[in-house]
């Protein structure tokens, strides 16, 4: 180290030191630094690729495929909507939407599933995904919503890159199609993102199986999983080994999931002891009778029949923690029952 003199400035520091300093800044600071010198620009870019650079908190990112050659990104940030249309490489900036209204969200939510067309991916389109990654790197999102997307290897690559450096609390997939050989990769990316909540609205169930549910149940604390399948397949019944994973779901709403009644009460009680709010809704093979409840109740648990609400409840004695649950007929022609529970 030289003695103190005029040449001892920040630019005398080695790259590692500057990258460490820049990683303690946010993207707006790095924008400013980038125009000071070529070296600082390069180092700012390295710092940006590290997830710990401060990010802006955006509410929602909606990604929707409009046609074979167009994907639209719509973001809700600081009470304003912004849209990015990926149609050509020169259109690569978000545009503030007039009148502070979402152009896509209300048009797509509640929209019936439509045919999802394989995208006409060309080299240009791949570069547009890269552009989107650069633009989105300064934001973390409360919610990521993907609508009617053809998931190919290019989209998957973008999705992976985006989620590997950004924090997104909840994920909503509303109709998507992809080649089945990409399923495992897509699920790996989903699970690695550690979403607190995953909401899947699918035409057919090509994603959710027992392994996926087990892995998700163990990826975050008390996750929320919502699954809605448009076409009614046969109910999906997990194995008895699923019991220990069932109780790890904070919220689980899956209209086609069939749980064996014999595993329900133990899981319900383990979940109750987490003392966290949530809800379960799925199918059970049969009703639970009073003898089973009496046998499952531990010394500190109190059972009540709430006749007015047609519900039953179990409370942890001397605490506000309780679960109210009920079973009722779902389809008169089917032997299984609908089960719902609310944890307070």
């Amino acid at each position: 180290m030289e003695e103190n003199n005029a040449s001892s400035t920040i630019t005398n520091l080695p790259d590692d030191c500057l990258i460490d300093i820049f990683a303690r800044l946010d993207h707006t600071d790095l924008d400013e630094i980038s125009t000071i010198s070529g070296r600082l620009y390069e180092l700012a870019e390295v710092s940006r690729s590290r997830s710990k650079v401060g990010s802006l908190k955006a509410r929602r990112l909606l990604i929707a495929q409009i046609n074979r050659e167009e994907i639209v990104f719509e973001m809700s940030f600081a009470g304003q909507y912004y849209q990015l249309k990926l149609t050509d490489p020169d259109s690569g900036l978000f545009e503030k939407l007039p009148d502070n209204e979402s152009a896509l969200y209300y048009a797509l939510v509640g929209y019936l599933p439509r045919e999802i067309i394989e995208m006409n991916i060309q080299t240009m389109f791949v570069s547009l995904f890269d552009r989107a990654t650069v633009l989105l790197r300064r934001f973390d999102f409360e919610e990521l919503k993907i609508c009617s997307i053809w998931i190919d290897i290019h989209f998957l690559s973008f999705f992976h890159q985006f989620l590997s450096t950004r924090t997104v609390a909840s994920f909503n997939l509303r109709y998507a199609e992809f080649k089945y050989d990409l399923r495992d990769q897509f699920i790996s990316v989903l699970l690695a993102a550690n979403f607190e909540s995953i909401d899947l609205q699918l035409e057919h169930n090509y994603l959710v199986n027992e392994e996926f549910m087990k892995d998700y149940a163990n990826s975050v604390i008390l996750p929320a999983l919502f699954v809605s399948i448009q076409c009614h397949d046969r109910p999906f019944r997990p194995s008895s080994a699923f019991l220990k994973n069932l109780s790890k779901f904070g919220t689980l709403s899956y209209s086609n999931l069939l749980i064996g009644a014999e595993m329900l009460l133990p899981a319900l009680i383990v979940r109750l002891r987490q003392r966290r709010k949530g809800a379960w809704r799925f199918l059970v093979t049969r009703d639970i009778d009073q003898a089973e409840i009496d046998a499952a109740l531990e010394a500190d648990l109190e059972f009540n029949e709430l006749h007015a609400e047609r519900r039953r409840s179990i409370r942890i004695a001397n605490t506000p923690s309780m679960v109210k649950f009920r079973t009722h007929v779902q389809f008169i022609t089917m032997p299984m029952l609908q089960f719902s529970a609310h944890f307070d």
Binding site: E3, L13, L25
Partner: protein
């Protein structure tokens, strides 16, 4: 037991073994030279050369280490409101670093980096980051006396690359 450290300008500093061990670099060198806390002869007969640190900077490093020699390892990071990863610089450290003019601060950071003294490195890195945060590029360039080597066209191109929204 004491350890002898020799700076680039040939100044010898005799420091407590515990202080010397706060530097990962010095620890590694002592290990390589078979110097151990229980072997006084090995400590007396050897000195650790530190060719990248001057006397003036070494004195500051030792002052910082003296203050922090009993510190418990601490969680270094937390996020501020804008998600920035920040390191909490204690009042003593703020006071310690505020008297260093910027050139000296950079030298101290370079020394902390070379000596691998994580706590001191984080303190200085965070102090400089706090000086930069929220400032415009010309203010940063002026504050740190940086000569801009970009043309106006290059600056425009970089602004285009880093922008996310149309104004």
């Amino acid at each position: 037991p004491n350890v002898k450290l020799v700076t680039s300008d040939n100044e010898e500093f005799v420091v407590d073994f515990r202080i010397a061990k706060m530097s990962v670099t010095v620890s590694r060198l002592m290990e390589a030279m078979n110097m151990s806390e229980t072997d006084d002869a090995s400590l007396l007969s050897n000195s650790i050369p530190l060719p990248n640190v001057t006397k003036a900077v070494m004195a500051r490093v030792i002052e910082w280490c003296e203050k922090h020699k009993n510190d418990e390892p601490k969680e270094e990071k937390e996020n501020d409101k804008r998600g920035r990863t920040t390191h909490v610089v204690s009042d003593w450290d703020k006071e310690f670093l505020k008297n260093d003019e910027f050139g000296r601060l950079c030298q101290l950071m370079g020394a902390a980096n070379y000596l691998e003294i994580k706590g001191l490195f984080n303190d200085i890195s965070q102090t400089i980051a706090n000086m930069i945060h929220g400032k415009k590029s010309d203010e940063i360039a002026e504050m740190f006396n940086i000569h801009c080597d970009l043309t106006e066209a290059e600056k425009k191109e970089i602004r285009k690359k880093t922008a996310w929204c149309e104004d």
